[in-house]
């Protein structure tokens, strides 16, 4: 460590305590909700004493144990949350595959072309990236109703892929810029066509960038609410609109715990993802920024 980075103890203590406070703010809500999802509603929303949620006083009285899986049972089986989970899996899988296929082709071309129109293409992609998805949804509804496309999973997949393209193109474009141009050019000198050079020389070395971009495509599909809630019929709902629909129906029935367990279930895969792909996520977030 260089001398300039050495800290006097007072600064160290201040920085550490600031960080600890931030960590509590960032992590505590998740841990609290995870813990509370195994309690009954009387504990999770406790009128009498907030500590009930910690020790499960009402849960003890109502079920006999300190923990109950009733919320999970109600959400996954009674309210058929498994169906939403299945739909989410399908949507994410196809969105990631299709948008990476189109994105790598386009991103590669944008990185290698020196013409002016490549710049305009990227500029338009940036403008499209700024469009709030919900403004576009109001343009989809009428044609989709007319042509009977509304409500199906594949319509949503295609829409999400399209909304994802501007970001995917920008990201892959900057990754391909980092792959030396000599690589595919020497292949072309040896007699490959442009596509063969891409297929045999670029594809084998592009995976780190593609995986990072794929993670963000996955996040976009997984986290989307505006498109999925407006374009999917009730039986095709994915997890996020399903959770939103719990709020409308379950609050009156007193089954808010269904929503709580569904929320925890939907967060769990993201938790695992951050655990395994932390490095890629960080590199993806900074890819566009640090290089300018």
């Amino acid at each position: 460590m260089s001398k300039a980075n050495r800290q006097p103890p007072s600064v160290r203590i201040m920085a550490t305590s600031f960080l600890v406070i931030w960590l509590v703010i960032a992590a505590f809500p998740f841990l609290w909700t995870l813990w509370g999802s195994f309690k009954v509603e009387g504990d999770f929303f406790s009128k009498a004493n907030w500590a009930n949620a910690l020790f499960g006083t009402m849960t003890q009285i109502e079920t006999g144990g300190s923990f109950t899986g009733a919320g999970y049972h109600g959400a996954w089986i009674q309210e058929e949350f498994w169906r939403a989970a299945l739909n989410t899996t399908l949507v994410c899988l196809f969105v990631v595959t299709v948008s990476l296929t189109c994105g790598t082709l386009g991103g590669y071309a944008l990185a290698r072309s020196t013409h002016r129109y490549a710049f305009w293409f990227l500029l338009f992609a940036l403008i499209f990236r700024a469009m709030p998805p919900i403004t576009l949804v109001s343009g989809y509804l009428l044609p989709f109703f007319e042509w009977n496309l509304w409500g199906h999973l594949y319509t949503t997949v295609i829409v999400l892929v399209a909304l994802n393209q501007p970001f995917t193109l920008w990201m892959l474009h900057s990754f391909f810029k980092n792959i030396p141009q000599d690589l595919d050019e020497s292949a072309m000198v040896d007699g490959c066509t442009r596509f063969q050079a891409f297929r045999h020389v670029i594809i084998p070395v592009m995976w780190p960038g593609v995986i990072t971009t794929g993670l963000f495509s996955f996040l976009l599909a997984y986290n989307d609410f505006a498109v999925t809630t407006m374009l999917l019929s009730k039986e095709n709902q994915t997890m996020v609109p399903k959770i939103a629909s719990f709020l409308g129906t379950t609050q009156t029935k007193g089954n808010v715990m269904f929503a709580v367990s569904a929320v925890v279930s939907a967060t769990a895969p993201l938790f695992v993802m951050v655990m395994f792909f932390q490095r890629q996520i960080v590199s993806g977030l900074t890819a566009g920024a640090v290089k300018g």
Binding site: S2, H115, V137
Partner: protein
Amino acid sequence: MKHSSFFWFVLPSSLLMLAFIAFPIVSVVTQSFYSAHEQVVVEVENCGPFGCKMETSVDQVATAAIREAEPMGKFAGLSIYTDRNHLAFGEVAAAWVRADGLPDFGRSLMNLPFYKALGFTLTYTAVVTPLTIILGFFIAIAVNSVAVALKGPTIFFSLLPMIVTPLVGSLILFWMVDARGILGTGLQWLTDDPTLSVKASTGLMWIMLMVYGIWHAAPFAFVVFYAGLQTVNTDTLESAMVDGATRWERIRFVVLPHLLPLVTFVALIQLMDNFRVFEPIVSFQASAHATSLSYAIFNDLGGETRLLSSAAATSVLTIIGIAILLSPVLVRTWRDFDRK
């Protein structure tokens, strides 16, 4: 790269973006000039034991037929833009005449749905963007100066609020600030007011939504700034130290200028994302206290009667807002490219 190979490589992406981004924009703009057909009303003479009466009723068949024939509705020109739910020229003018000073005018403006949504969206964007950048900067500085052991867990837990689905993340916070949740109870205890409820107060609701926004976005700023801090030139830092610069002066005159391009980048992304604030309003069920432009569109589109034209007009106004917001950036990008 040859023109033809460029064309084939970008074809799939361009088709997708044309069909599902560019075309919908055109379709939204067109739709905003049309309004739904009114119901066809017929008068029928209804004769009963007490004589005959003329009654009006809705001719469902004819209404359905005319709506089927022209699904976009009838041409309405700019009337949707100027009605009460959008720019409300008439109401604004009336409020201006009636108003007793500017604050009063502002209050009556906030009763009009579009201005209410615009007011919250702009306030949210203006408050959350700078605070996110400041908080992210301080976290990055703090992480950079603590022991290596804390770095891994900090990055892991910091990523969570950003990665988690916005709807889900805001629900988690919403349940905690419920009057019966832990933070809600804590607030009541702090203010010594057992009836305090975030749900019932407009001011608290606005603050909660913005707190959520900062909580959600600060990690992004943190990660970008932290990566930038790794590339600060240590030689410059050390020579500044030799010249007698204090810790704060070193941050102010060496680190900050180095991070400035990153600040612009984060600010740009945050402006775009904050302007479309939407999910937290659904989760917090805050529509009585705060609506945003995106929420107004969502509200028009949902429910039994889909108000397509009204949603389209709000969408067009939102897109115009985005264009104004982005124009300085676009002009700069264009100039940079021109110089190259």
